[in-house]
Amino acid sequence: MSQTEDLVKRLPTEMGGLDAGPIQRTEHEYAPWEKRCHALANILDIHKIISTEEKRRGVESLGAEMVGKLTYYERWIVAFANILFQKAILTPEELAKKMDEVAARHPAVQHNE
């Protein structure tokens, strides 16, 4: 029997009933880009481009490592990019080029080799 089945059968985002420690009462002020990301989600839903359900599935399909290590809106924006590629609304190349262009606007952004 495959030992990896549980990774497939149980979504990395499902938490109900798992063992967990105390609740840390963390609150953070939402960064402007996070609010914009949330606004983008609402707009994409209204336009029927990416529904709430598609967004949920998009985040789930990032897999356990990314779900565990990326923060909430980081997961959303990566999921949106993937879904927009799947729907041929954007291409990976044009997003990569646009990201370079946006990064270049700020003098201090590091460019990864």
Partner: protein, 115 residues
């Protein structure tokens, strides 16, 4: 829904409803949550599968199956969600709180079996 009229119209005879339009279950029905393992997307948490509960309410309006919707389907047959009551003692064998404590959760019609 008009507040003032107080008059409920009766359905016309010989009008057949669309598939899924009529809820299969009603408040008070005893049900069991199905056990299956969809790959890729689901909204029925693992912890309630196979558990027994009671329908508390039918939720309107009917909706597309969210497992399909997750992959882009946005049209087709709509069915109902139901608000299901499940005692926490049914979910967790070692539950230490009051035996009256319970879960309320919406479950899609395709995941419910009549007891």
């Amino acid at each position: 829904m008009s507040e003032g009229s107080g008059r409920v119209l009766k359905p016309l005879p010989n009008v057949v409803k669309a598939e899924g339009a009529e809820p299969i279950f009603k408040a008070g029905d005893e049900v069991t949550i199905s056990v299956r393992f969809p790959v890729g997307h689901y909204r029925v948490p693992t912890y309630i599968r196979g558990k027994r509960g009671r329908v508390e309410a039918v939720i309107e309006p009917p909706a597309i199956n969210n497992e399909d919707e997750g992959f882009g389907r946005n049209a087709g047959v709509k069915r109902h969600y139901y608000r299901i009551a499940i005692p926490l003692t049914e979910l967790w064998p070692k539950y230490a709180g009051s035996k009256n404590d319970g879960l309320r959760i919406e479950v899609f019609e395709t995941w419910l079996e009549r007891n």
